[in-house]
Amino acid sequence: METVAAAFGLVFEPYTLFVILLAAIFGLFVGAVPGLTATMATALLVPVTFFMPPVPAIAALVTATAMAIFSGDIPGALMRIPGTPASAAYTDESYMMTKNGEAETVLGADLVFSVIGGIFGTIVLVFAAPTLAEIALKFSSFEYFWLVLLGLTCAVIITIGDTLKGIVSLLAGLLISAIGLDNPAGFPRFTFGSIELLGSVGLIPMMIGMFAVSEILRYAVSVGDGAEVFRKQIGNVFRGMWGLCVKYPWSILRGSVLGTAIGALPGAGADIAAWMSYAVSKRMSKTPEKFGTGHVEGIVEAGAANNSALAGAWIPALVFGIPGDSITAIVIGVLYIKGMNPGPTLFINSPANVYAVFLVFFLANLLLVPLGWAAIKAARRILEVPRNLLMPIILLFCIVGSFAINNTVFAVIVILVFGVAAYFMEENGYPVAPAILGVILGSMLEENFVTSMIKSDGRFLGFFERPIAAGLGIITILVWLLPLAQWLLARRRAARA
């Protein structure tokens, strides 16, 4: 109880509340402007949070992302352009509803079910994380090795598209993680005499490059999109929302559960949660033929899913230091900087900070109601901010932000290299998320592998001698065999036909 009181004290402090409010406005703006994503909002915020105490720093990130994932729905409904990738799944449906004269309903549903999904995910986080942390206290290097490997495997398998390219992306990330001194032997690898590379590439500049600079490049080569903003005064968005809650209780629950689960799986976040939920909603619907004609059911489900995924992603991030999505990948970097090293001991050493994070999640989702409403009202003005002014300013911000982490120009080189690399990776269908996960988890994978090998005296069977390790190991291997089995099955079927 004391820790909860302490957590309240940390959050309900004028400075923290002020930071939350500013972060909320920033998040709503970034989310609503097409081409700026929630991950980019996080990456841009890091240099600023660098100078704050832990709780306000984390609060800023949590709030900004929750707001951005909702406000990404606004240009989807009004311009048929998703504000963030997490809204892409139901952008067409939303725009159809707006064209059918139901702009209030679709924006209201976006807002209300974002809040419900967000709160659902938070409740799961609050209950699941401490429980898992208690189990994780007993983990040794064997369990961690399998857990990391399972996480990396999931990241490759869940990404939309090509598994082979996902593996290549993951390997590239692992290779980058091998750069520098940070390995069990403390031997400088791939540094080629550079002093800067001794400390590896630097996660935050890399992320700024991959998620912000690459977006600016994408803007630079896109032909000026003349998408028209839907011009109409938006009325009361909350009308009829209770009716939707009563009509689609299962959709709301299914979306929230699936979203939280996808969020918790490493490598997949809000965008994949929304795509999957929308597809599930259509399959389970009594009226699947209405999907695509401006039907609210899928928006209710997927809108809840993408916001619940945000909280879900924090479960493995806090408990194991394994990010659930690209946003928590950045958050983990911040946690280390702030001395809140993720892992089960975090729940013992600084429980007040952990509870403060939970509280911020609730607060951010509740704040979403009035602030989201205000953002809808101000939508037209936000959407008309000229992007040819915005993008160069963001580039300058990226430069200063990456420089601020270590005060070296080397960071600016990093954002240039990784910005261009991420741009070409995406253009050739190589997903970026597995690479990020590889970079973050690479040293953890190597360390636990080497430690385990030394402990078991080089016998690979040692990896299966503890019950939980054996279970995780078997699951990992089964997940590997899954695509192979599918492939064999497809071949058999093809041979028979």
Binding site: P47, L164, I167, L175, F187, I216, V223, L396, E446
Partner: protein, 155 residues
């Protein structure tokens, strides 16, 4: 630009060979089997496996080695892309000597004009935005942004 899978595959295999050659020089830790070479070595093996699969796939698909994306045929967009990269490169090279404020203003003006902002608006926004960012990071967050030629006016 879309690159044929086979080209990427060959590149990955070459990279893997380079890694394997490079790690031969890594030391062994006395009394231990697993030194700093094992992890990069495993990654290299992974690159050879995935690279080979990509080569097979690319050869089967058989379309040209490089395929230009639409934007690469529009000169205006290619220069847009290059200018963003050049802006970053310019900062890397010039910021130390020139200082943050002049470099920032130059980068912003160049990009604004290229993206079609009017000249007066570009200049005013560039100066204001650079000064605001400088104020935020230099004064409030105490990031030692270089003064360069404006050293005498440092505040």
């Amino acid at each position: 630009m879309r690159i044929n899978d086979a080209v990427v595959g060959v590149f990955l295999i070459a990279l893997a060979i380079a890694i394997l050659v490079h790690i031969q020089a890594y030391p062994l830790i006395p009394g231990q089997k697993y030194g700093p070479a094992i992890f990069p070595g495993l990654i290299a093996v992974g690159f050879i496996a995935t690279g080979s699969l990509l080569v097979i796939r690319g050869v089967k698909a058989g379309f040209p080695l490089f395929q230009l994306s639409p934007w690469l045929r529009a000169p205006g967009l290619v220069t847009n892309f290059l200018l963003v990269c050049a802006a970053l490169a310019f900062y890397i090279v010039a910021a130390g000597a020139l200082g943050f404020i002049p470099t920032g203003v130059l980068i912003l003006v160049a990009l604004f004009l290229k993206f079609g902002v009017g000249a007066r608006r570009a200049l005013v926004t560039a100066v204001v935005a650079t000064l605001v960012i400088h104020l935020l990071f230099y004064k409030l967050l105490r990031v030692p942004l270089p003064w360069g030629v404006l050293e005498r006016f440092a505040w």
